[in-house]
């Protein structure tokens, strides 16, 4: 009988990513509900010294696969190693992050194991000993509660920034185990030949704590400096609505909504965004929503915790000044 909860850690350049701690924290909760062990699986090159980071967050064991071919991430290498480990150990639950890497990995892994996989979940529970996952569908216009049948391990990815990180307990440590695996060079078909860093230093929207977003009301690309100024003061990333992106004002990676990024920041400030349903779908899991719009009837106000009816060209610069007092 498949037993135990596994979470797959995510690291880049040897640094553990925040989603990994969110997964361990959630994994601990599920493992406790089942009375089972929590194992973190860490892959990379020269990452073994990072394995000790997970014990304080609740891991019982850390399974480390260390190999120069596991850095940087490639689908081929990661899927090969993790599927070997899953087949050898038969965990009951396998959780990954719904990051770009995690989604890529989870999809292929599930296919190879011939199991179902619940993508981008916002909540997990154990009911009658089984994993029940809640996931937004239609970009959050509806939610689906799903479970698994004849599908082991029960596999899911967790949306970044939704599940809370436990307070680490430095007295706790996990047993670190070297994973047994083989990697066949002939199976590693894709190669990362270059990594182009985003020079702006901006935090990706899916990972940002705060987002200031602009829509059609911005009137043109030249006006986004107003939003950049506010974002600089409060430590936010700048996003955009579909109409702003389609007009060519902002790059595609900035788009929030059903055909863009689905985001869950602590603070989302929507400026000159009317609140088309496909936009609301992409940001409605934000913790606090602020809307600044001239049109008092704009649908965005129905979703906003705080609304300012007014001209964003007056309100946003004033807010930038006021925010400085609290930073």
């Amino acid at each position: 009988m498949a037993q135990g909860v596994w979470t797959i850690a995510e690291q880049r350049d040897g640094k553990i990513r925040k989603i990994s701690y969110e997964l361990v924290s959630e994994g601990r909760r599920l493992a406790d509900a089942l009375g089972q062990e929590l194992t973190v699986v860490l892959l990379g090159s020269n990452v073994k010294d990072k394995a000790s980071e997970f014990g304080p967050y609740g891991a019982d064991k850390v399974l480390v696969a260390d190999d120069s071919r596991l850095e940087p991430y490639t689908t081929d290498a990661y899927v090969s190693v993790i599927s070997q480990l899953v087949k050898a150990n038969e965990p009951g639950i396998l959780l990954l992050g719904a990051s770009v890497e995690g989604k890529d990995l989870a999809g292929r892994l599930a296919a190879g194991l011939d199991v179902a996989m619940a993508q981008d979940c916002t909540a997990f529970a154990i009911e009658n000993g089984s994993l029940v996952a809640t996931r937004p569908i239609y970009a959050g216009k509806a939610y689906a509660k799903v479970t698994f049948e004849n599908s082991w391990p029960q596999m899911a990815t967790a949306r970044p920034k939704v599940m809370s990180v436990r307070e680490p307990d430095p007295s706790k440590s996990a047993e670190v185990i070297d994973a047994a695996f083989t990697l066949n060079d002939a199976d590693l078909k894709t190669k990362v030949v270059d990594v182009v860093k985003d020079e702006s230093g901006k935090v990706d929207l899916t990972e940002a704590d705060k987002i200031v977003s602009g829509g059609r009301g911005m009137k043109g690309p030249e006006n986004y400096n107003i939003l950049e100024a506010l974002a600089d003061v409060i430590g936010a990333s700048v996003g955009a609505s579909r109409s702003a992106v389609d007009a060519g004002w902002r790059p595609h990676v900035d788009q929030v909504g059903q055909t863009g990024k689905v985001v869950s920041p602590n603070l989302y400030v929507a400026c000159g965004i009317s609140g088309a349903i496909q936009h609301l779908a992409g940001m409605s899991t934000s913790k606090v929503i602020v809307a600044i719009n001239k049109d008092a009837d704009a649908p965005i106000f129905q979703k906003a915790d705080y609304g300012v009816v007014g001209d964003l060209f007056d309100v946003v610069p004033a807010l930038t000044e006021e925010a400085k007092k609290y930073m």
Binding site: V100, D104, V132, I137, K145, F148, V196, D204, I289
Partner: protein
């Protein structure tokens, strides 16, 4: 080079989603069905590669008969032929089953590249591409915004944005690419294109035609069971900030964000 593009139909993104009374599905009356936007990027990229390298573009759609309309759209944009996998036994199937049907239809075709959308903007699972690649035993390149096929047609170089950086990845062909927004701007079908599309071959295949067993499809064969669909958790409209001037409103807002919401 020969390219295959997979497509499905989804409710238009402006659609208000209503849950059916059985809590298992959505109300489909009055839904405007459109080609999945991410699949459209796949169609466009396939056409651009064909224009540069020659070859043929085959569109493989899956779903009810209405999907014919989206396949015809792709043909009108410039694709050469279409296949529609349609079978009542597919109703209620999960993505794993959809990928298996697509793989069965594609495995005997000649192809160098396969495009799928990075996800369907309906169930948002994003696993059909990966599953199809696994079943066909070819590399997958997911969430791609740039594609360059080598002159010899034997490999591809792609760009894949991840959080904070962009990876440049090479892969031998055949390979499967999932299309992300930013890959291209899909063209509109021209009037002559629409006329030509009517004469292009479009065949329908049932599960039996593909040598598949209907028992492996449909709601009964799902490995992911839907317990319940619900509307999203409600968000109450909050406070409208009062004030005589933009400065007053901004001051009040900043104060509330600091003291009440505790996000500043």
């Amino acid at each position: 080079m020969n390219i295959i593009v997979c497509l499905k139909q989804v409710p238009d993104t402006e659609t208000q989603i209503k849950i059916a009374s059985n809590s298992q599905s959505i109300v489909t009356d009055d839904i405007k069905w459109v080609m999945n936007p991410y699949d459209e990027f796949g169609v466009e990229e396939a056409l651009r590669l064909k224009e540069k390298h020659g070859g043929e573009v085959t569109v493989v759609g899956l779903g009810p008969k209405r999907v014919t309309e989206s396949i015809r759209t792709a043909l009108a944009m410039g694709a050469d032929k279409g296949i529609l996998i349609t079978d009542d036994a597919l109703n209620g199937s999960d993505s794993l089953a959809h990928a298996k049907a697509l793989a069965a239809a594609i495995k005997d075709l000649q192809f160098d590249l396969i495009f799928t959308g990075q996800r369907g903007v309906d169930d948002d699972l994003g696993i059909v591409g990966a599953t199809l690649a696994e079943l066909l035993n070819i590399p997958q390149l997911s969430l791609i915004i740039k594609v360059e096929v080598a002159e010899d047609g034997k490999s591809v170089k792609v760009e894949r944005p991840i959080e904070g950086e962009t990876l440049v990845i090479t892969s031998p062909l055949p390979a499967l690419i999932t299309a992300q927004k930013g890959l291209n701007e899909p063209r509109y079908a021209s009037l002559p294109g629409i006329m030509k599309a009517k004469k292009k071959p479009l065949v329908e295949k049932s599960l039996a035609d593909l040598g598949l067993n209907v028992a492996d499809f449909g709601a009964g064969a799902r490995k992911m069971k839907i317990l319940e669909l619900t509307p999203p958790p409600g968000r109450q409209a909050g406070k409208i900030i009062e004030g005589e001037t933009p400065q007053e409103k901004a001051a009040q807002l900043a104060k509330l964000l600091h003291e009440e919401a505790k996000v500043l």
